[in-house]
């Protein structure tokens, strides 16, 4: 331990990665909500094929790469992939918390958005002709229950916990990749 150098804190890099991921994913998320909420109910609403935003895929998992790159380049240091994994994990967790806060703030700006989104989705589902009536009613009841639940504190915390888990895992992996590319100890 006596030869081990004290490395600078990685938290500023974690916060930078988390802010970028949470802001970008929130923008795409709101774009999708407004598109669905403002469209005429129909199977097209469920399929949203008119709105092809394929770059939303993978945006959520670049946080680990951004944070590890920022940490390595800012301090010109190398570190093992285990540390990259830790930085990525914290970035994912912080991004989930920030995205939830952004969502709740936007909920104050436009409190009816989630209701309009839910009503459009349910109306579109009611029009679906290929589902048996009994199953349709059961599914709609379940959807309404879920939309109501998402407005409660318990629902918000449950969503936060799920997002912290999944963003934490994928950014843990991207943190390892970032450490391998930008901070490898190999020659």
């Amino acid at each position: 331990m006596e030869n081990e150098q004290v490395q600078p804190s990685y938290w500023p890099s974690v916060m930078i990665g988390a802010i970028i991921v949470s802001v970008v994913t929130s923008i795409f998320g709101f774009a999708l909500l407004y598109y669905v909420a403002g469209s005429e109910p129909g199977m097209g609403t469920l399929m949203i094929s008119g709105l092809t935003i394929p770059i939303t895929c993978l945006v959520g998992l670049i946080g680990g790469i951004i944070s590890t790159r920022h940490y390595a380049k800012t301090y010109d240091i190398t570190f093992p992939i285990g540390k990259g994994a830790l930085i990525g994990l914290f970035t994912g967790i912080a991004a989930a918390i920030m995205a939830t806060i952004i969502g709740q703030i936007w909920n104050l700006v436009d409190p009816g958005l989630m209701d309009r989104f839910g009503e459009t989705i349910i109306a579109a589902f009611e029009q679906a002709g290929n589902i048996p009536e009994a199953q349709k009613e059961e599914s709609i009841a379940s959807m309404m229950e879920n939309f109501e639940k998402q407005k409660t504190l318990g629902g918000i915390l449950q969503g936060l916990a799920i997002n912290m888990g999944v963003l934490g895992i994928v950014n843990l992996i991207s943190g390892m990749i970032g450490a391998k590319i930008f901070a490898s100890e190999e020659e």
Binding site: T52, P54, I162
Partner: protein, 158 residues
């Protein structure tokens, strides 16, 4: 001459194997457990709503229910976990080729970007199958890029 495999960071390897396996099975969506037809409100769909557009028209389905992620993303998660589990075997067969794997990783990102941009500006229309293949390329190359951090092939003269 005999070939030996030396393992490193074993705890992290096992942790990532378990977590990425969980992510992959969750990404397969509610259809895996019996065909529940509730778009966008299953716990699997909520899990990936910050990671994927989840467009039903661009997703594969199981038991008539769309997966929780699009065809490109399921290719990424599936190929990543399979490549991760096969890592010791791949190291044993092909050895440690960091520079080639880094190039493969770069090519996989570039090919996905070209596919997305070409589709967006109307040069071509990609399909679920083509998006899946590009996703597989990215997922596999991501896992293999990290290969020599976990396993190294040692050539031992006898």
């Amino acid at each position: 001459m005999t070939l030996n495999i030396q393992a490193h960071n074993q705890s992290l390897y096992i942790l990532v194997a378990v977590l990425s396996g969980f992510i992959f099975f969750a990404a397969l969506g509610p259809g895996l457990y019996g065909g529940e037809i509730i778009p966008r409100v299953s716990w699997q769909h909520i899990m990936f709503n910050l990671l994927c557009h989840q467009d039903i028209a661009r997703s594969f389905s199981i038991n008539g229910t769309a997966m929780a992620v699009c065809s490109r993303c399921i290719g990424i998660y599936g190929a990543f976990v399979i490549s991760w589990l096969l890592m010791p075997l791949i190291v044993y067969i092909v050895g440690n080729r960091s520079k080639i794997l880094l190039k493969l990783f770069g090519i996989s990102i570039a090919s996905n970007l070209i596919d997305v941009i070409g589709n967006l500006i109307g040069f071509w229309a990609n399909t679920s199958e083509s998006r899946f293949i590009f996703g597989v390329l990215f997922g596999a190359s991501s896992a293999l890029l990290l290969m020599n951090e976990f396993f190294k092939r040692l050539n031992t003269e006898v």
